[in-house]
Amino acid sequence: MHYLVLSSILFTIGAVTVLTRRNAILAFMGVELMLNSCNLALVTFSRVHGQLTGQVMAFYVMVVAAAEVVVGLAIIVSIYRARRTVSVDEPSLLKG
């Protein structure tokens, strides 16, 4: 259960990172932190229930996170090439 509390703390820190950081890459890292904390929770529960399903799910999360990082960073690089900036505040064309 301590693991779960740790997981929630890390999740929160990850969420706040996403919200506060202006560098897109750092915000992305916050997302990674959130995914990791979810993995921790899944593994903890797998232990609680005595089944490996939690670990398998955590594995898949890892794989998907990897794919996501690839695509996300590719986008960031592409935006950087176009706009010379990686601030998340710059693309505000959907301003109402």
Partner: protein, 328 residues
């Protein structure tokens, strides 16, 4: 619920690692320089690997290190170096109150989640001895390739798609034909013939050749002992961090006396301006002719007027192809 945490050894390790992980995560949150934040995240991930191992998931622990830390975080650092290493967040947020509201909400979130967890009743931990009877990797593999094999296939497709997308998203249209070694030499010769460029046919010496010092910021000396400015990287020259070789006279003697050198003085504005002015010369020293132009001239085609071929990589690649077709 302590049965989850298990034996006393586990508890001890947990209580050592967990606070460190939290501090590292806070470093991710608050660090000024992005690289520091990345390092903090790496630390968190390694801590995670420890925890996984303690939670009877050794396979995941290793996978975490290999995949996450070894690949993903390195990828992050690469991209950071590529684009954002200088981009330090300014102290003042463009969105006022964003920061504080985020902190408040974060505190609220952790309160809610922790509250839910604390008030929840978990069943007694069964433990994974039974499931790990055939060692953990075997057990995990049993589940992956057994019950969730379809998911596995899908995830495989996902990875392929991700790789393809990375290529597609970062693809840059080649505006000019790439220069190979042969083209480089020939262009340099033609520039020399025309009187453009640096008027030097040989490749530049690496910094430090002919020099008594091999530091990047110390210029090389020509056979006459004069410093060759262009042997110092451009960036350092613009920053005014090129050092005068003469200033090294007597340095060795000083060091032998036990007096250590201080850093060279910061460049004065005049030095920076002079360097920048020199930059203009450096621009001219670069070979500007393109391979296409060279080939076209050699074929005997009339030289193309300097049209502003600043076409961005458009989705409609057809137009580019047509123009290329017209050329050749």
């Amino acid at each position: 619920m302590d049965s989850v945490v298990g034996t006393g050894g586990e508890v001890a390790i947990f209580w050592i690692i967990a606070p460190l992980m939290v501090i590292a995560a806070l470093a991710l949150l608050f660090a000024r320089k992005p690289v520091h934040a990345a390092v903090g995240l790496i630390f968190v991930m390694i801590g995670m690997a420890f925890l996984y191992t303690m939670l009877e998931a050794p396979f995941l622990g290793v996978a975490q290190v290999v995949v996450y830390t070894g690949a993903i975080m390195i990828l992050f650092v690469f991209v950071l170096m590529l684009v954002g290493v200088d981009a330090a967040d300014a102290a003042v947020d463009t969105l006022k109150a964003q920061r504080w509201v985020a902190y408040v909400l974060g505190a609220g979130l952790v309160a809610v989640l922790a509250g839910v967890i604390v008030t929840a009743t978990l069943p007694d931990a069964v433990g994974l001895e039974v499931a790990n009877a055939n060692t953990n990797p075997a057990g995990v593999a049993h589940v992956i390739f057994g019950a969730t094999v379809f998911t596995l296939e899908l995830v495989g497709v996902l990875l392929i798609v991700a790789a393809l997308s990375a290529i597609t998203l970062t693809h840059r249209e080649a505006l000019q034909q790439a220069r190979n070694q042969k083209a480089t030499v020939r262009l340099r010769q033609r520039a020399y013939a025309r009187g453009e460029g640096s008027q030097v046919l040989t490749p530049m010496p690496a910094p430090g050749v002919y020099a008594e010092h091999n530091a990047a910021d110390v210029p090389a000396l020509d056979p006459y002992g004069r410093p060759i400015d262009i042997s110092v990287p451009r960036v350092l020259r613009i920053r005014g961090q090129e050092l005068d070789p003469a200033s090294f006279d007597g340095h060795v003697a000083q060091i032998a006396e036990g007096r250590y050198l201080s850093r060279p003085p910061a460049p004065t504005p005049e030095q920076s301006a002079a360097a920048l002015a020199a930059e203009a010369d450096l621009e001219r020293a670069v070979v500007t002719e393109t391979v296409e132009d060279m080939l076209a001239e050699e074929r005997g085609d009339l030289p193309e007027p300097e049209s502003d071929h600043e076409s961005e990589p458009t989705d409609d690649g057809r137009s580019d192809l047509e123009e290329k077709g017209d050329r050749s």
